[in-house]
């Protein structure tokens, strides 16, 4: 051991640690370009806009759990080899929800309604889908979603969003302005029971022959919604609960087949209404329950949990949703829980 060998050893260790720990720091985004969104940026944006609501989903925080089954008529097998499209029955567990990160928000007709479904949960070849009652999605990129979220932030001095924020957002995001115009032409239905829930994002179905077909799917309501009773904070959820006490509710799964030229990567763009559709079967929801440990409260409706025979498109929202949902799931599973606003047993007959 001499001075040269000491320097050589220390130099080599320093160089190795610089590269090794540098790579770890870069991969974790502790160093390097800081101008791109991360999953944490999204969680913090939800917290900043809606406040801290530990234990709840960071978006679509208010909801109720449903159970039932899907009866496939086999028509979907033409497009997809997924087991769920073969003739027969799959179990389904799901969750109706309202858009936004406040779990105690007052129900309003204008809030986007969500339906998350998990087919063959937990041990089959699963298919999970998180859908909305909107005709198109307002954004076509994670950045757009983020900017729109922040534009809705309530300014504490006025109790309202900054009046300049939304116009500025729409000027910067013409795709969202166009999508919102389409949404305006499709006013929401009366309640959850008569809402049609759409995938919005395009997926590819792959059949036995290996043919890939772009589709968007919809669960089309097969009943009217009960009249809501005025008063109370949960008028939409209460009406759904009362209606399900009288019997199951049904939705028909319609697969819409995209034609060449239809966008498969931009959920703000509607497909023309004359596209071919395939009626794949009927979803029947028979049970409704309060969110509790071990039911759909604890399911992450990750749109990328797909069976063989359904493949993601290149829509950038898919990866963004999947990763932000995972971060939200990790955060909320570690937080203390409090009772959800929708308590099925407490809804009067």
């Amino acid at each position: 051991m001499n001075r040269r060998s000491v320097l050589l050893g220390i130099g080599a260790v320093t160089a190795f640690l610089a590269v090794d720990l540098g790579a770890v720091a870069y991969a974790n985004k502790w160093i390097g370009p800081n101008n791109t969104l991360t999953r944490e940026t999204f969680l913090n944006a939800f917290r900043s806009v809606f406040g801290l609501h530990p234990g709840f989903r960071k978006n679509h925080a208010k909801g109720v759990v449903v159970t039932g089954h899907f009866d496939s008529n086999g028509n979907g097998s033409e497009l997809s080899r997924a087991a769920v499209f073969r003739p027969g029955r799959s179990s389904v567990t799901g969750r109706f929800s309202l858009n936004g990160g406040d779990p105690n928000v007052v129900d309003t007709p204008a809030a986007a309604r969500g339906l998350g479904l998990a087919f063959a949960f937990p041990d089959g070849t699963q298919w999970r889908s998180a859908m909305l009652n909107l005709p198109v999605f307002p954004d076509n990129s994670a950045q757009g979603f983020y900017d729109r979220l922040l534009a809705q932030k309530i300014v504490s001095e006025t109790g309202k969003p900054d009046p300049a924020a939304m116009p500025a957002f729409l000027a910067a995001h013409p795709e969202s302005a166009a999508a919102m115009a389409v949404i305006k032409q499709h006013p929401p239905t009366r309640g959850f029971a008569d809402s049609t829930f759409n995938s919005l994002i395009t997926f590819f179905l792959v059949n036995d022959a290996g043919v890939r077909t772009p589709v968007r799917w919809s669960f089309v309501a097969q009943q009217q919604a009960l009249e809501q009773r005025s008063g109370g904070r949960n008028i939409l959820f209460d009406a759904l609960i009362r209606q399900m006490r009288n019997g199951p509710l049904q939705w028909r799964l319609i697969l819409t087949v995209g034609a060449p030229g239809d966008s498969t990567t931009d959920a703000t763009l509607p497909w023309p209404s004359d596209r071919r559709t395939v009626d794949a079967g009927v979803l029947t929801l028979t049970g409704i329950e309060t969110e509790d440990p071990g039911n759909a409260r604890d399911i992450n409706f990750d749109p990328l949990v797909l069976p063989d025979g359904i493949q993601p498109s290149d829509d950038p929202l898919l990866n963004a949703r999947s990763t932000v949902y995972a971060a939200s799931y990790r955060a909320r599973t570690g937080e203390p829980k409090s009772p959800p606003a929708v308590q099925v047993d407490k809804v009067t007959p």
Binding site: V6, A12, D20, V24, A27, D123, V324, T333
Partner: protein, 179 residues
């Protein structure tokens, strides 16, 4: 210079360097996939697949480790350091075995089996339980950083021995014909 007392058998050296490359890749992919928005689902698929591949190779490595003795350590290693060498080897084996199993159990606790090689669905090895998921998820991160730390110490020690003490430490695991 293929004296079996001075150097690990070829199969052991191959397993060592294969696992080294895979674990460096896995740690990098793991950190990237939870910190960057793009390509998340593709990276998760690769991560789960590589995790199961590493689990299989490490099981093989553990079994192989019982088939031979370790080559003699250089005389520069005193008895305290000798204990550290044995301890760090055991620690690395424990972490390498535990990490893929924790990952598998963690995905299982979310109510699904991992999917590897695109479509091969593995069974769940833990019940659907959100509280259990959180414990496993945190542990998965802690073990990842523990691997980073132990591997950094392992490589640094070998470099110091080989370059500063010039005791040929690296040659026990290297492929070169000399030294």
């Amino acid at each position: 210079m293929t004296d079996p007392i001075r150097r690990y058998p070829l199969r052991t050296r191959i397993l060592h360097w294969l696992v080294a490359i895979l674990i460096f890749s896995m740690l990098f992919i793991g950190f990237v996939m939870v910190s960057w928005l793009g390509s998340y689902s593709a990276l998760v698929g690769i991560h789960m697949t590589l995790g199961v591949v590493i689990l299989c190779i490490v099981v093989l490595r553990v079994a192989n480790r019982f088939t031979h003795r370790a080559p003699k350590l250089p005389d520069t290693v005193g008895w305290v350091e000798h204990k550290l060498v044995v301890g760090s080897e055991l620690t690395l084996y424990a972490l390498m075995l535990a990490q893929p199993l924790i990952g598998w159990a963690m995905v299982s606790a979310t109510g699904r089996g991992p999917v590897i090689f695109g479509s091969l669905r593995l069974p769940r090895i833990a019940p659907f339980d959100a509280d259990l998921f959180f414990v496993l998820r945190q542990t998965h991160s802690v073990v990842a950083y523990a691997l980073v730390a132990v591997i950094a110490a392992h490589v640094s020690a070998v470099l110091l021995h080989t370059l500063t003490l010039r005791d040929g430490m690296l040659s026990r695991m290297a492929f070169s014909r000399h030294s």
